[in-house]
């Protein structure tokens, strides 16, 4: 090691905050401080029709308002005397029977927004409907509790607002090998071996160098850790299944990531809903099935909680194009091993007492679910992250 490098490395050692991995190596300290539990978030983008997912098969209003769209009574997979699953969700029935699924009905927030853009923002930032926040709820979790960007990973090429904090952003990756290869470009190594770190304090340019170092160490950590495990489990052939497969690989290799973010698109079913939704729910349920089995085989399912949401539900009354328009309250699925309230968390809201738009009224604020997960699963102070306190639910 030449003198210059020696000086650099020792200088790096003093700036712990910016180059954590160079110094701390892989001591795994965060696993102890942040715990082993993982949260996997699944967004069904476009607004999944919750009423045709969890179906009130004994409700006359349901059949009256959806003459061509209602799921036939005989096709419903019954959960109890009132509610049943869409036939595509058969794999969820197994989870339900094993006590690994909680369905929370009527989730929403006051003055619901029916624009995809805004409603998604609201769910991502955990804001009120008239409030605009620039950081996401997981982003603020990172800001307050994480030590590395890779403590949260989105399985996509770019980050959702949910994963962006004020100071720390999560990692977006679909292919850790490629990330690693880019970060190892010999030219970048040369630049980093030569730069003079007295400039690191320089406002913007210093920030760029620091980000470069941190990105390099994240890419190395994710690649080298995750390559230690290869899943042999079979997954269906879909983009969504691939996201979950990569997530399972990350989890099973012991990557120090607390939150994973995945999404499945296409639920905006304004026209000819039946086939589209059938196909999408099948992709969702079959992928989840493979994912859960994979985790169970590796004994990591007990440390994993899966939260599935959609930015809004759809109108009770179907439209003239055999589809449904944007609605409000919707159901949320929680999948995990040690659930406190298994099965149906609450009853479906009344179909006769709808809001002025003809949409389901919300009963449970989605942020109460976030708060519960933050406090009881990720073991952090939810008030700090949500900037307000919400009632705790007792599903975990």
């Amino acid at each position: 090691m030449d003198r210059r490098k020696f000086i650099k490395n020792s200088a790096l050692a003093s700036s712990l905050y910016f180059v954590p991995n160079f110094v701390r190596g892989f001591e795994n300290i965060t696993s102890q401080s942040l715990g082993f539990k993982r949260l996997v978030i699944v967004q069904l983008s476009g607004g999944n029709d919750g009423l045709n997912s969890i179906i009130p098969f004994n409700n006359d209003i349901y059949f009256r308002e959806r003459p061509t769209l209602a799921i036939k009574k005989d096709d419903v997979i019954r959960l109890n005397d009132e509610l049943g699953l869409h036939q595509s969700l058969q794999p969820l029935k197994e989870l339900y029977d094993n006590g690994n699924l909680t369905i929370i009905n009527n989730v929403g927030y006051p003055n619901p927004n029916r624009s995809h853009f805004r409603a998604t923002d609201i769910w991502h930032t955990a804001s009120n409907s008239n409030q605009h926040l620039q950081s996401g709820w997981i982003g603020r979790y990172l800001d307050n509790y994480a030590k590395h960007p890779y403590n949260a990973i989105e399985l996509d090429e770019s980050l959702s607002l949910a994963m962006k904090g004020k100071h720390v952003n999560a990692i977006a990756t679909t292919n850790p090998r490629m990330h690693y290869r880019v970060s190892r470009d010999p030219y970048f190594n040369s630049v980093l071996n030569h730069y003079d770190d007295k400039h690191l304090s320089e406002h913007n340019l210093g920030y760029l160098y620091k980000s470069m170092i941190s990105a390099k160490s994240s890419a190395k950590y994710i690649f080298e850790t995750s390559k230690t495990f290869t899943s042999k489990h079979e997954y269906p052939n879909s983009g969504f299944a691939k996201q979950l497969k990569t997530t399972a690989q990350f989890i099973n290799s012991g990557l120090d990531t607390k939150v994973y973010y995945t999404s499945l698109r296409g639920f905006d079913t304004h026209a000819n809903q039946s086939n589209t939704q059938k196909r999408l729910l099948e992709v969702y349920a079959n992928s989840i099935k493979a994912f859960v089995e994979d985790l169970k085989q590796q004994n990591t399912f007990k440390e994993t909680l899966i939260l599935t949401f959609s930015e809004f539900g759809r109108r009770v009354k179907q439209n003239a194009a055999n589809g449904t328009d944007h609605g409000a309250a919707n159901n949320v699925f929680i999948i995990g091993e040690n659930l406190k309230r298994k099965g149906l968390y609450n009853n479906l809201a009344s179909l006769s007492n709808l809001d002025a738009n003809g949409d389901l009224k919300y009963e449970i604020d989605f942020r109460a679910i976030y708060a519960t997960i933050l406090n009881k699963w990720l073991m952090v102070d939810s008030d700090r992250i949500l900037r307000r306190s919400f009632n705790q639910l007792n599903f975990i």
Binding site: F117, H132, E157, L159, H179, P186, H199, H203, A321
Partner: protein, 458 residues
């Protein structure tokens, strides 16, 4: 005017400058050069895509046949992509450089998102038309734009059931900034914007039966105000001139606001709100050319992309990649994160974007290859060949036009190339490293320079 200063002006008012363009300005005074910049942008060339295939749709058709709406929406989304491509193309070859840069600024001020191509196109050209105009007329026009009426729920704002969304953002984000108005001001002004609506073609319609014609109390005044009156009263507040000046300062001058400079800007901007006069003042100010303002801003993804394009023109073989790259870099035009727009500055940079940004020039121009040759080191020819052969594996397929680069930079030395591409102070260690690099190919050196953190700055 110094080359360095001309270059600075052109990075902030545009997307950089080539040595040949720079030569044209040699020996001109600051005033002459700034005048030329404004003269070039006197006209407005609207940005239009061919929309003939969707002009046959109308609301009655949708009512009769809902499938037609779906068809329309699908076509509209395709046209929006085309509009994005056309916009990038426009930025790369602008008719009115400053106007285009200002349009980008206003896009991130009056933030909107919509799926209706005709409405989006109209809105975008409103931004372009008013970019250097009268801010008062600008705000009033914006309040009546179809996309804004939809995006901030003016459509749902009715006499019997007011919706405060637009009134709140009008003050918080468009004119005054947070904490410069009361909740009561929001409530009252929301009533003045009741009944705002638009027709299918995107023209403003006031639904008189939904409009509240009663008295409103606003900023200590009382009257039967409509939306335009409210905007006039807001602009009476000097705070509005300050708010806009600060935003312009952060975008065009420095992330860190200098209150003395802002005061000078407010004195120019208030009470006439002439945007051109304000921008002329900024570009003519001595402080605009202070060392601390040169090369100290982090380029936005669009600045970065168009800047590379200005030095070495390139095209994507697959048009869809034009949007994909914007998305990966974190700034997809027409698709802002929310009503507050992109935060800018350091928030462009995270562990994901920094590596893509550093790698970007090589991905676009040299099949991802960045030479790491030292002086007298010839042995990476093999590697370079490997990269070239692996072109099919590249994340993006592009066609760089190096002939154009050769033409523009033929008289430029390696040192001149460095000065042209890196505006600010270079890290001293990095500078030494640059000295040691083998400088046999100007193209290679160009990619090397563009792959430095310093190139991320303007």
């Amino acid at each position: 005017m110094d080359n360095k200063h001309i270059q600075h002006l052109h990075w902030r008012a545009g997307f950089g400058i080539t040595p040949k363009q720079l030569q044209q300005y040699a020996k001109k005074s600051r005033k002459q050069i700034v005048d030329e910049l404004f003269k070039e942008s006197k006209t407005t060339t609207p940005l239009l895509v061919d929309t003939t295939e969707i002009e046959d749709y109308y609301p009655e058709l949708f009512a009769r046949n809902p499938l037609k709406r779906r068809e329309f929406n699908k076509k509209s989304l395709e046209k929006l992509k085309a509009f994005n491509y056309a916009w990038i193309e426009r930025l790369s070859n602008p008719y009115e450089l400053l106007r285009e840069k200002m349009t980008l600024f206003w896009t991130n001020h009056f933030v909107c998102k919509d799926n209706h191509i005709m409405h989006v196109q109209q809105f975008n050209n409103t931004l372009r038309a008013y970019a250097l105009g009268d801010f008062r007329d600008f705000v009033k026009t914006i309040s009546k734009e179809a996309v804004m009426i939809k995006y901030l729920n003016s459509k749902q704002n009715k006499k019997r059931k007011p919706n405060e969304n637009f009134a709140r953002e009008l003050m918080e984000l468009f004119t005054l900034g947070m904490d410069n108005y009361s909740e009561e001001d929001i409530k009252e002004s929301a009533r003045a914007f009741t009944g705002y609506n638009h027709n299918f073609n995107g023209e403003f319609v006031l639904k008189e039966r939904q409009h509240d014609y009663e008295f409103k109390s606003f900023f200590g005044k009382r009257g039967r105000y409509d939306g335009d009156d409210i905007i006039d009263i807001i602009l009476e507040q000097k705070q509005c001139a300050k708010f806009i000046s600060e935003k312009i300062y952060r975008y065009f001058v420095n992330d860190k606001v200098n209150s003395k400079h802002i005061q000078e800007m407010v004195d120019v901007f208030y009470p006439n709100y002439n945007i051109e006069a304000l921008m002329r003042f900024v570009f003519m100010s001595d402080w605009f050319y202070d060392e601390q303002n040169i090369g100290t801003k982090i380029k936005s993804p669009i600045d970065l992309l168009i800047g590379i394009q200005n030095t070495v023109p390139f095209t994507f073989e697959n048009e869809k990649d034009v949007i994909k790259i914007q998305k990966i870099l974190g700034q997809a035009l027409l698709n802002p994160p929310n009503v507050a727009g992109w935060e800018g500055g350091q928030s462009w940079i995270d562990s994901n974007t920094i590596m893509v940004r550093l790698k970007l020039a090589s991905i676009l121009l040299s099949s991802s290859y960045i030479s790491n040759k030292k002086k007298g080191d010839f042995n990476d020819a093999f590697k370079q060949k490997y990269y070239k052969q692996n072109k099919t594996k590249q994340p993006f397929k592009t066609q760089p036009d190096w002939n154009s680069f050769d033409k523009e930079f033929s008289d430029t030395s390696f040192k001149g190339l460095k000065t042209n591409l890196l505006s600010g102070v270079i890290n001293s260690g990095t500078n030494e490293f640059l000295e040691d690099l083998s400088k046999l190919s100007k193209k290679e050196f160009c990619v090397q320079l563009m792959s430095l953190p310093e190139y991320q700055m303007c």
